[in-house]
């Protein structure tokens, strides 16, 4: 194939240079810097701040130390918490709820469908910080909306963020991300020819049978894409920090928050960098799996 160029090679490079420099300085260099730091005992204060020692894999060993691995506030406990968080808020919450909503949208009048889509996009484009603050205001003990509703209905108020911190961040992340899955599944369902469902209607299928036999199998690829994406996002989400700061007593300290605490509160840069590298490797696995699935789908379409 002949390649056409609007600019000479030199001009192209000149245009790319500023962005390249910035990305190099703020993304690529720190990436390798973090890997390097994870093999040292660099900290913010003290002698090791200016003259860190090379400690080999010590930071990694301390993360995977069997004696403290499952202790609350340690890496293993945080990893397990993160997996629970991802399963509940992303897979069950966002994906399953999004699927339910998307399926229900298929049989409502067009006008209601448009309204729902608009509202869902509205929720989706709100900044996370705003959503976090809204939830904070909703769940607050003294002046929170939820407690006002509870009291108006004659129920005792609850200190939700203190009593159910984990469920609070699960609900928060579900609320925050369901719109994405719903929109994705909704557009996937809309791409199925309506006659498929009409033929099933005439044949006598119930809504559940249509979903199980026709709807779901035909959007399987979208489901896989959605699951990988929201799993990655939920795995890396930091916003729950705004609700609970990882507490109380590390009960909502998912991995991004754990990393933040080790590096920027305990100022143990070396160990923090090691956590960062491990999280990055986990993300790499997700990303490779995602790419593999996408390639397989692209090939499937071509065949």
């Amino acid at each position: 194939m002949k390649s056409f160029s609007l600019l000479s090679r030199g001009t192209g490079v000149a245009f790319l240079a500023p962005a390249g420099l910035l990305i190099g300085a703020f993304v690529i260099a720190p990436f390798f810097w973090v890997i390097f730091v994870s093999f040292t005992n660099r900290s913010l204060l003290g002698r090791t701040a200016v003259d860190p020692d090379f400690v080999g894999l010590a930071n990694y060993f301390s993360l995977f130390d069997a004696a403290t691995f499952f202790t609350r506030g340690e890496f293993g406990s945080s990893l397990i918490l993160t997996i629970q968080f991802v399963l509940l808020s992303a897979v069950v919450g966002q994906a399953a709820l999004g699927m339910l909503l998307a399926w229900m949208l298929q049989s409502v009048p067009k006008s209601l469908k448009h309204v729902t889509e608009t509202v869902a996009i509205g929720a989706w484009i709100l900044p996370e910080v705003v959503i976090a603050f809204a939830w904070f205001a909703f769940l607050d003990y003294e002046n929170g909306t939820l407690n006002m509703i509870m009291e108006a209905l004659g129920f005792p108020p609850g200190d939700w963020l203190l009593s159910f911190p984990f469920w609070a961040i699960v609900v928060f992340n579900t609320w925050r991300g369901t719109a994405f899955s719903m929109m994705l599944f909704n557009s996937a369902f809309s791409s199925i020819p309506p006659s498929y469902f009409q033929a099933a209607d005439v044949a006598g299928a119930s809504s559940w049978q249509k979903f199980r036999d026709i709807g779901l199998p035909l959007i399987r690829g979208h489901v896989v894409t959605d699951l990988i994406l929201i799993t990655m996002w939920s795995f890396n989400v930091f916003t729950p920090f705004l609700l609970t700061s990882g507490g109380p007593s590390y009960r909502t300290e998912i991995l991004p928050i754990y990393t933040y605490r080790i590096a920027f509160r305990d100022f143990d840069f070396g160990k923090g960098a090691a956590v960062g590298v491990v999280v990055m490797l986990i993300n790499l696995v997700f990303a490779l799996f995602y790419l593999w699935v996408m390639r397989r789908r692209a090939k499937g379409v071509a065949a």
Binding site: Q198, A199, V202
Partner: protein, 369 residues
Amino acid sequence: MASIRFKGITKKFGEFVAVSDLDLEMHDGEFVCLLGPSGCGKTTTLRMIAGLETPTAGQLLIGDRDVTFLHPKDRKISMVFQDYALYPHMNLADNIAYPLKVRGEAEAKRHARAREVADVLKIGHLMERMPSQISGGQQQRTSLARALVYPSEVYLFDEPLSNLDAKLRLEARGFLNHLQRDMGMTAVYVTHDQAEAMALATRVAVMDAGKVVQYAPPMEVYRRPATTFVANFVGSPPMNLLPVEAMIADGALHLKADRVSVAPLPVSRAVAAALKGNGKLTLGVRPEHLSIARGGEANAITGQLFANENMGPEKLVTLERDDAARFTARIFTDDVIALDATVTLGFSSEHIHLFDQAGARLPMDGEPV
């Protein structure tokens, strides 16, 4: 099997009236074709029988049951879709057996039944294939098999042959006709192809702008079209229509137009009522009733030769007149016809159709109205 009755059915989409105050009865065992141009309301009518559209007003009965607002699955109907609506992720066996699956039939039993139907439709050997791996004609028969696999009171067809190429369409049409003879099913069949309607239907409902303009057996529609619209829609090529000046004198009807000679016709009651002295009428003659004039014909029309098409068994000779109106004759001959630049076509009086200015047929006396 059951009858279908429309009682004052209207369907609007917003302001657009798709079907307007429709009264129609289809008998048990009848094969009714809804025929008309696109946008005439025929598909909407069919989809209301299926329950895929709900009427804005009126009542719909299948047998003695009022099904106006019933869900499709409760109507005891089968339907074949224009795009076949085969599920791309299921093989033919699962596709055909799907209606039985939703009814809770065991897999072995429903596959056996699917195979039975597939064998009748000559696709039994393809049961393991996916829909994308079979031809269009086979896909069409698969979707037919899925409609036939369970007992229904009414079978609905939404332009099932329109996605097939011409040769396969003829073959499938013949097959459907055979199936209808075999099963005696009550069927409603939507098509814009008048030949399909003529070939398959026991009665044709010709629709235009949301209304049925004629509802009669195919030969009746062909021989005595109720309006100029029907005359122009049924037949291939359609009926030739020509505006003429009409006058009743000496107890006979005289028709006049430029370069047209028509022998005086008897004055029927309908013509007398429509005309009341002088006026304009529309004269219609089917192409197959025209021939090259040899002189001495009772009726003749003259014009410039426009086209002379050889169709194999017949020839289509078209002449163009000064008013740009064209007249086509179907001439069945094996001879090569040599034609001058000016051609005269002749026709006998018994083949003349008359329509009033509004386009309604003016029957001859003694002809059923």
